[in-house]
């Protein structure tokens, strides 16, 4: 069963690549329109030496942007869920902020914050604060009435109830938000790099396409996708280690 789950997608990927390869050579498609997988591979080998530098740059933006979003969104989500006034005052604005297309404001942000890391952090923050915040608030509000009865019957103070019941209950929800957030962080970082950066995978894609070097651009995109998958898996593993009970509950339903 386990082997099947690895073999089948590998086989379909191989088939897809083979069709792509054959089609490019069969229809004589020029490389500046669609490079064959083999060409993408050799382009990847060509840039292998500089790739770590760019990956590190993007990773720095992704991780610091993600950390910043988490540090802002979780307390904000808690605040929204436990205080009606805060929620009524801020929620519409946050919904609006989330509705603003980040690509559209990115140039404005660059003017305001300059071409350094700050701009890219703000862009990343704008992309990924919302799902983390909403997941946190949803988790806290989702606390079953029986748990709240329990805390009431033990005489727990509001703070104790928040820390020992509402937050732990919300933790799996928060992790769902973090899993969405980490992949959105990658998108935010790349958008930032498109506009301002001199390094990073986003920059690499832009500079490759200006030279019509699609093979290099595609190789960079694949690297980016792999990074995204690995980061997602890391968040998933952290959840598994910290909250084993939540994984069990998920797989049972």
């Amino acid at each position: 069963m386990k082997l099947r789950l690895i073999l089948l997608p590998t086989a379909s990927l191989a088939a897809m690549l083979a069709i792509w390869e054959v089609a490019v050579f069969g229809f004589e498609i020029p490389a500046y329109l669609l490079p064959a997988p083999s060409r993408v591979w050799s382009a990847a080998v060509d840039i292998a030496a500089v790739l770590p530098r760019h990956i590190t740059a993007t990773l720095l933006t992704v991780l610091s942007g993600f950390a910043l979003s988490t540090a802002i969104s979780i307390p904000l989500g808690v605040g929204l869920s436990i205080n009606k006034t805060v929620s009524e005052a801020l929620y519409p604005l946050l919904v609006f902020a989330n509705a603003v297309p980040v690509i559209a404001v990115a140039p404005i942000i660059v003017v305001m914050f300059g071409t350094g890391l700050e701009s890219r952090l703000v862009i990343t923050l704008m992309v990924c604060f919302f799902p983390i915040m909403v997941a946190t608030a949803t988790g806290i509000l989702d606390t079953p009435r029986e748990y709240l009865d329990l805390s009431k019957s033990t005489g727990a103070s509001f703070g104790t109830e928040l820390l020992t019941i509402r937050m732990p209950h919300a933790a799996p929800f928060i992790f769902s938000g973090l899993k969405i957030g980490i992949t959105l962080s990658v998108i935010g970082a790349v958008v930032g790099e498109f506009i301002t950066s001199q390094k990073g995978l986003g920059f690499l894609i832009v500079s490759a396409t200006t030279n019509f070097d699609l093979a290099q651009a595609i190789a960079s995109v694949v690297a980016l996708a792999l990074m995204s998958v690995v980061l997602y898996q890391i968040v998933q593993q952290v959840q598994k280690i910290w909250l084993p009970w939540s994984i069990k509950a998920e797989s049972m339903t």
């Binding site: 009865d149 805390s151 009431k152 019957s153 033990t154 020992t164 939540s246």
Partner: protein, 264 residues
């Protein structure tokens, strides 16, 4: 052993509970409830659904406040988190992120880290008493429903409350586990002499365990009649075959279903 030292423990006087429904008149869940529960009594609240028995229990537990009237325990007015009351819910309500042991200690932990530390031995003793010492470090999800409810009973006992308040605690269990736990609870009652207030809609459960049965009726929720069981403890399976048990059973059915005693 004798039950009820004739010393009033819980006094419910002229209590009413109304819920706002958005309609002009609020929904009257309970009206004019007067009830005195003596020290060490085992009181069952029994009645059809909608009679407000769970609502009354929540008031006694301090989870909700009455609209009118007053509830006192040994002369003190009830408040939420009253440490003289231990609560068991219909569902075990164990926190899935804590081990069984940590769940049992939870009410102490809420008060202080030190109290939680002091209650470690007590928690182990309680788990031992209900046969759960071996699974103390396991998560709740690894236990059966009956074992989880046993752990919940341990949790309600951890602060040594004077009164156990139980809201249909066995209704989610299969019949055999249920019977097992009924006798276990009877043993705990006999050993500790705690006052127990217990909601059920099972007539045999009420007759088997209680020293007093409060039969309730609907619209509005009220007490139809209070019956002294008048059967000796310890109870056994034969208790239900006593003449007195049959009388009680008949009288309760009369009160709930009317003269035809619920025969189809």
């Amino acid at each position: 052993m004798t039950v009820g030292g004739n010393q009033a423990h819980v006094v419910v006087s002229e209590v009413a509970k109304e819920f706002e429904t958005g309609a002009a008149e609020p929904f009257v869940a309970l009206d004019n409830i007067d009830l005195t529960i003596d020290q060490g009594e085992f009181v069952l609240l029994l009645g059809p659904s909608g009679c407000g028995k769970s609502t009354l229990l929540r008031l006694i537990a301090g989870l909700d406040a009455p609209t009118r009237g007053d509830i006192q325990v040994s002369g003190d007015r009830i408040t939420a988190g009253f440490d003289r009351i231990g609560m068991v819910f219909q569902q075990p309500t164990l926190l899935p992120w804590l081990s069984i042991f940590e769940n049992v200690v939870y009410p102490a932990r809420v008060r202080s880290r030190r109290l939680a530390q002091e209650k470690r031995d007590e928690a182990l003793r309680l788990l031992e008493m209900v046969g759960l010492s071996r699974v103390a470090d396991q998560p709740p999800s690894s236990l059966s429903g009956g074992m989880q409810q046993r752990a919940a009973i341990c949790r309600s006992l951890i602060l040594d409350p004077e009164i156990l308040v139980m809201d249909e605690p066995f209704s989610a269990l299969d019949a055999m586990t249920r019977e097992e736990l009924q006798f276990e609870l009877l043993r705990i009652h006999a050993d500790s002499g705690k006052t127990i207030v217990f909601v059920t809609h099972s007539i045999p459960e009420a007759v088997l365990m209680s020293s007093k049965i409060v039969v309730m009726a609907t619209s509005p929720g009220r007490i139809a009649e209070t019956l002294e069981t008048g059967m000796p403890y310890p109870r056994t399976l034969d208790t239900l075959r006593l003449d007195r048990a049959r009388q009680l059973d008949n009288r309760i059915r009369e009160l709930i279903y009317g003269r035809d005693r619920g025969q189809p």
